[in-house]
C-alpha cells in the first residue's frame, strides 16, 4: 500500500515479547471501543458517557463490582478449562457440559447428605464444601475424560464429541431439576433445591472464596506449563503430536489427561456459579445462559494465546463489560443487547489485531517510483 511517497512495509516478526503482545491488545481494546461508539452515536448517546457508565458500574460500583468479580471468576475458570487442552493442541468446546456435570456433582453431595430436606438442615461446611468441590471437579473431569479417551484411542474429533456432550449434559440437568427429578425444587419452578445456608460458600470481602481458586488455578497452570515435566509433555504434544510421540510421549495419555483436568476446572466453574455466587445458590432455571457464557472461555483463551496468566486481565475485561453493558442498556434505555454486541465487536477486533502478533508494520519513504509489472519491450 502506498500513500504519497510512503509505502507500508510489512515484515514478519521473528519473536513476540509478552509486553509487545500486551500493548497490541490494549490498542485493540481502544480500537474496539472507538469502533463501537458508532453504535452509541447512532442511538444518539454520547459514547464517552456510555463508556464511563459501563466502566464505573463494572469496576467501581459497590453493586456492580461483585457482579463483575463473580462473572470474572466464572469466565477465568472456563478459560483455564479451555487452555489446558488447547496447549496440547486439542480443542475443548465442552465447558458448558462440564460445568453442568460439575454442578450436578456438587448437588449430588448435598443430596446424599440430606441437603434437600426442609427446613434446611444444618450441615457441616468444613466437610461438605470440600466434598462438593471434589465432586464438582470429578463430575467435570468425568465428562471431559470421555472426549479425551475417544480422541486418544480412536482419534475421534474432540470438537464434535465435546460439543455433543454439552447437549447430553444440558438435558441431564433438565432431567435432574425439572418436575419429578431428584434435585427438583420442592416448589417446582423448574430449578433445583436450594443450598442450605450452612453450606453457602464463605465470602471474603463480599466475594466468594472461589476467586482465589480461579486465580490459583491460573497461576498453577502457568507454573505447570513453564516448569514441569508434564507441562513440557503437553506443550510438545500441542506443537507436534508426531514429534512428541517420537520423544516417547504417549498421545493417548496426554489427551486423556488434558481433557480430564480441563473438565475438572470447568466443573469448579459450575460449583462457583451455582453454589458460591450470592443470590444464586441453586441450579437456576436459566442455567443454559451460564452454559453459553462459558464459551467466552474459548475466546479469552485464544486472545491470551493460551497463556493462563494473560487470561486473567482478559477474563476480567470480558466479565466487566458484560455486566457494565447490561447495566448501561437499562440505564440509558438502549433497546438492544449492548452487552453482547460490545463483546462481539471486542472479540473480532482482538482477533483481527493478532495480525500484529505475527507482523511488524512501518511506513517507509520510497525512493524512486515503483516499476509497473509486466514485460518490457
Amino acid at each position: 500500500m502506498r500513500i504519497g511517497s510512503y509505502e507500508l512495509k510489512i515484515e514478519k516478526r521473528l519473536a513476540l515479547a509478552g509486553w509487545e503482545a500486551a500493548i497490541i491488545s490494549i490498542f485493540a481494546i481502544i480500537f474496539a471501543l472507538a469502533l463501537f461508539s458508532i453504535i452509541f452515536i447512532l442511538a444518539e448517546i454520547n459514547p464517552l458517557l456510555a463508556y464511563r457508565e459501563i466502566f464505573s458500574y463494572a469496576f467501581a460500583n459497590p453493586y456492580g463490582l461483585p457482579l463483575t468479580i463473580n462473572r470474572f471468576v466464572f469466565i477465568l475458570l472456563c478459560t483455564s478449562a479451555f487452555i489446558i487442552p488447547f496447549r496440547a493442541g486439542l480443542w475443548n468446546i465442552g465447558m458448558p457440559g462440564q460445568l453442568y456435570a460439575g454442578a450436578l456433582g456438587a448437588f449430588a453431595v448435598l443430596f446424599a447428605f440430606g441437603g434437600k430436606a426442609l427446613p434446611p438442615p444444618d450441615l457441616s461446611p468444613a466437610i461438605l464444601i470440600p466434598l462438593m468441590l471434589i465432586a464438582a471437579a470429578l463430575g467435570g473431569a468425568g465428562l471431559g475424560a470421555i472426549a479425551g479417551f475417544l480422541k486418544g484411542k480412536f482419534n475421534t474429533n474432540e470438537i464434535v464429541v465435546t460439543m455433543i456432550m454439552n447437549f447430553i449434559a444440558f438435558w441431564l440437568v433438565a432431567h435432574m431439576i425439572k418436575e419429578g427429578g431428584p434435585f427438583m425444587n420442592p416448589g417446582g419452578r423448574g430449578e433445583s433445591f436450594e443450598l442450605p445456608p450452612s453450606v453457602h460458600a464463605p465470602l471474603i470481602m463480599g466475594v466468594p472464596f472461589t476467586v482465589f481458586f480461579a486465580l490459583g488455578v491460573a497461576a498453577l497452570l502457568y507454573f505447570v506449563f513453564a516448569k514441569t515435566k508434564i507441562g513440557y509433555q503437553i506443550r510438545a504434544h500441542g506443537h507436534s503430536p508426531a514429534a512428541a510421540r517420537y520423544a516417547g510421549i504417549s498421545p493417548f495419555r496426554i489427551s486423556l489427561l488434558v481433557f480430564a483436568i480441563g473438565g475438572a476446572v470447568a466443573g469448579l466453574a459450575g460449583y462457583h456459579y451455582f453454589a458460591a455466587v450470592p443470590g444464586v445458590y441453586k441450579i437456576a432455571r436459566t442455567y443454559g445462559y451460564f452454559g453459553d457464557l462459558a464459551f467466552y472461555g474459548i475466546i479469552c483463551g485464544l486472545i491470551s494465546l493460551g497463556n493462563p496468566l494473560a487470561a486473567i486481565p482478559v477474563a476480567l475485561l470480558f466479565g466487566g463489560l458484560s455486566i457494565g453493558g447490561r447495566f448501561v442498556q437499562g440505564k440509558l434505555q438502549i433497546g438492544f443487547g449492548v452487552d453482547y454486541a460490545l463483546l462481539g465487536v471486542l472479540m473480532i477486533t482482538l482477533v483481527a489485531f493478532q495480525f500484529f502478533y505475527h507482523y511488524k508494520t512501518a511506513w517507509v519513504k520510497t525512493g524512486e517510483k515503483k516499476l509497473d509489472v509486466g514485460v518490457y519491450r
Binding site: K227, K229, I230, S240, Y246, I249, G374, V375
Partner: protein, 518 residues
Amino acid sequence: MQKGLLEGIERGETVLEARGITKRFPGVVANDHIDFEIRAGEIHALLGENGAGKTTLMNILFGLWQPDEGEIYIGGKRVIFRSPLDAIELGIGMVHQRRKLVSAHTVIENIILGHPRAGRILNLKRAEEEIQELCERYGFNVALRAKVWQLSEGEKQVVEILKTLYRGAKVLIFDEPTSALTPPETKKLLASIGAMATDELAIIPFITHKLPIVLAISDRVTVLRHGKVTARLETGRVTEKSLAKKMVGREVIFRIERTKVEKGKPILQVENLSALSDKGFLALKGISFSIREGEIFGMAGVSGNGQHELAEVLAGLRRAEGGKVIFEGKDITASSILERWETGIGYIPCERTEVGSIGDFSLVENIAMNFYFDDSFSRRGILDYGKIRKRTEEIVSEYDVATPSLDTKAKNLSGGNLQRLILARVLSRKPRLLIANLPTQGLDVGAMEFVRNKLMEARKEKAAILLISEDLDEILSLSDWVAPFYEGKFMGIIPGEEAKRESVGAMMAGLCLEEQET
C-alpha cells in the same frame, strides 16, 4: 504479454540473463547482487550449500518472488515476472524436487493440465502423438496412459520434464535433479539432459550435493555462497575437490577414514520381521539381520521400499506384524517408544522438521525432547531447565550449531544446523543402537561431512549403527555391511570391503546378483 522472445534463438546466444539480483529477508540477504547468464544449448549448473541462496534465486527466476533489486532479461529483453505464469509463458520451465503431479490422473492428463490449448475440449489423441514425439527425441521412456501413482520417482520426474517441454519451455530449471533417483535412473536422466542441450535448450540444474553429477554433465558452473557468487567456472577445468572448496569455503575431506574397530557382541537381532506401511501394504516382508557393537549396517535403497517402516518399527513408532526384535538379548518387539529410549536405542528420523524437532520450541526445549524423562534432569516432576540449558550449550558448541541464541526457535535453523542439533541430541544419550534414517539427505557438503564423521565416532565408541541412505557412495564409504534393500527385502547382505558400486546399485533397483551374472 509478449510471447516468443525466444523464438529462433541460435545456439550459443544468451537466452536468460539475471543482473544484480538482490533479495533481502528479515535478518539476511539471501541474494546479494547475483549475476547469472545462460546460453542456448548450454548446461549451466548452480551450485551451493543449503542457505547459500539457491532456492531464492530459483524462485526469482521462476517468477515466484520479486527481486528487491536487479533485472532479468530474456532474449535480450527486460522482463518482470508477476507470477510463475509469466515465466512459463516466456519459456521458462521448472522441474521441482517435490513432484507436483495429480497422482490419480494419467501421465497425459498431467502433462496437458494447465496447457493453454487444453482449454475446454481435450484432444488427447493429438496430445499423445506430440508427447510421444518428445519422448522419442530425448529418449524418455514412460507409459503415457499409466496413472501417476503407479510410477517410480524417476518416471514422475520424466513426467514433470515432459510437462514443461510440452508447454514450450526453452529454459529448464532443475531443482536437485538426481536426488531421488537410483543410479540407473540417474544415468538415463543425464543422457536425456544431454540430448536436450544439443537441441538448443538451456538447462540449469540446481545442486547442493552430488558434485560428480555437476562434473559429468555441465558446461559451466556458478557457485554461490552466503548469497554471493564465489566462482564462475568452465567445468572442464575444475575438480570435485576444488568445487567443494569454493562451495564450503574450506577444504572438504571426501574419503572418510575407516579405522579398525573390534567387533563385539551382537546388539540388535531382527528375526523374520514384517510390518505394514501407512497404506496397509506389507512394507517389510519377513527380514532378518543383526548388528554387532562397533558396526555400521548400511541399508542402501531408494526411499519407499520399506526402510522407513523398518526404522519406525525398531524405534517403536510402528507396530510389527510379525517377527522379533531383540536388543542386547532382550525381546523388545512390544516395548514402548519411551522404554526404548531409556534402554539405549537412539533414533534419528528422516523427517527433521515434523518428527525430529519441534519448530516452535527453542533449542533448549528441543534438546529436552530426549532428556525430559531422565531422572537426572528432573526432580519431583519439575524439569531442571538450568541443566538442560547447560547440556544445550555443550551441544551447540561441540557440534558447532550456528544459532543466534539458545532461545532461538528450531524452525529458524537451517537444515544442516537442525540436523546437527538432532544428531547431537541423540548421540549425547550415548545410544547402544543408533538408527540413522537418511541422516545426510538434503544436507550440503560441509554438514554431510560432519554427520558422517560423527557416525564414525559413534562406531568407534562401540555403538551399533543402522544407516539408512539413498546415497550409495555414503553407504559404501561408511558401512561394515552393505545391504541393498528393495520392496521390503534385502537383496543381499555384503561385507563392506567386498561391495562393488555397480552390483549394489543394480541390487538397489531390484536386480538379484544371480540375474546380473547370467
